[in-house]
């Protein structure tokens, strides 16, 4: 046992909390170093002196003053204690607020993205259904706008080309190739 180990065990030695083997080791160290016994005795003496320090006592009117304070604050003290019950970690107030918020979010989402309306956002849907306003000036309504001269689909240039070409019969060519063989 060295000096540091000895110092660490002083309190436990004085309070009889050392195991038998440790105690023997401690006492062997004390025999080897008799001067260290002074330290042990000094600590022991301090401990007993601390126990002997006169105790401070409460004044005689301590309870009366305390009970008066309780009475004067009774209205405040008698308030019901807030519930400590929690719902998924939330207090009842916060839980109800959160539930309301979730319901509101779901409702708004359903309104915005309802599948029955073709998946379009509400405003876009309304805009698409709106008919264009008619012109308010009657003079403008009378003007005959020239109709655009769109080419009909069945009369486009590709169709024209196909019309001009005679139907070719490739069966004869096939026949010719077969003759050479």
């Amino acid at each position: 046992m060295n000096r540091y180990q000895f110092e660490d065990l002083i309190s436990e030695y004085i309070e009889n909390e050392l195991s038998l083997s440790k105690r023997k080791e401690f006492e062997a160290y004390l025999e080897e170093n008799p001067d260290e016994m002074k330290l042990v005795e000094s600590v022991r003496s301090n401990m007993s002196q601390m126990k002997g320090i006169p105790k401070v006592k409460a004044s005689s009117d301590f309870n009366d003053r305390l009970f008066n304070r309780i009475q004067t604050n009774r209205a405040q003290l008698d308030r019901p204690i807030p519930s400590q019950r929690t719902y998924f970690g939330f207090s009842p107030i916060h839980a109800s607020l959160m539930t309301g918020l979730v319901i509101a979010t779901v409702f708004v989402s359903m309104q915005l993205f309802s599948p029955e309306d073709g998946g379009l956002p509400l405003q876009t849907q309304n805009f698409a259904n709106e008919s264009l306003p008619t012109l308010s000036n009657p003079s403008l309504q009378k003007v005959n706008h020239p109709q655009p001269d769109f080419v009909k689909v069945d009369e486009d240039s590709v169709m024209e080309d196909q019309k001009s070409k005679p139907n070719q019969d490739f069966s004869k060519k096939m026949h010719f190739v077969n003759k050479n063989d």
């Binding site: 110092e7 660490d8 002083i10 309190s11 436990e12 330290l39 000094s42 600590v43 301090n46 401990m47 002196q49 601390m50 126990k51 002997g52 320090i53 006169p54 105790k55 401070v56 006592k57 409460a58 004044s59 301590f62 309870n63 009366d64 003053r65 305390l66 009970f67 008066n68 304070r69 309780i70 009475q71 004067t72 604050n73 009774r74 003290l77 204690i81």
Partner: protein, 206 residues
């Protein structure tokens, strides 16, 4: 009505009752939680002196110590439902008192800092209480007590708390561990080191 209530509480005091309580602290707080105010009075009677003595070692002012213990008892009255029987009642009440004493010490420190910052340099040379040996056994023992108390007072905060709880309040290591909130081994080590430091301080003073 209010006066009547107040006198009812005072009348419940054990000082004025013949029949003593035979309940443990934990049974008493359970009774108080279920509405028996006599149990509260008994708890106050059991702990007031112990707590004043404990807080006094930090504050060194009897009146302030008493105020802190009053606040502790008031807190016990108001927050009785916060106690759960997972710890001993004594550890719970000591923890409240210790926290309130620490708050008071912090307030005091702030006040002192403010006062010192407003003082001139000459005014800052304040007097320290003289501790001198005198003749006569009574005076000598009083002198020894003062020496020990001033040595305890000069210890670092974490040493001071454990040494007061162990050597003056005579609490068990387990209870101290719960009050201070550190492991048992640390408590033992702190107490030992505090005793050695105290011994060194007293050796210099004697």
């Amino acid at each position: 009505m209010m006066k009547q209530n107040s006198s009812n509480l005072s009348a419940m005091s054990l000082d004025k009752q013949n029949k003593p309580f035979i309940y443990t602290d934990e049974q008493l707080i359970a009774r108080f939680q279920s509405g028996d105010e006599r149990a509260y009075v008994e708890l106050v009677n059991r702990f007031r002196d112990r707590l004043i003595n404990f807080v006094f070692q930090f504050l060194w002012d009897r009146e302030q110590a008493e105020d802190v213990v009053q606040d502790t008892m008031l807190k016990l009255y108001v927050k009785k439902h916060y106690y759960r029987e997972i710890a001993k009642f004594s550890t719970w009440i000591y923890t409240i008192a210790r926290n309130l004493a620490n708050t008071e010490l912090r307030k005091r420190k702030r006040r002192k800092t403010t006062l010192l910052s407003h003082m001139s340099r000459d005014e800052r040379e304040y007097e320290l209480p003289a501790i001198q040996p005198d003749t006569g056994s009574e005076v000598q023992s009083e002198f020894a007590e003062k020496l020990i108390q001033s040595a305890i007072h000069s210890l670092p905060e974490h040493f001071k708390t454990v040494i007061i709880l162990r050597d003056i309040q005579e609490l068990s290591y387990d209870d101290i561990s719960s009050i201070v909130g550190v492991p048992l081994g640390t408590v033992k080590s702190r107490i030992n080191r505090a005793r050695l430091q105290l011994q060194a301080e007293l050796k210099d003073l004697r």
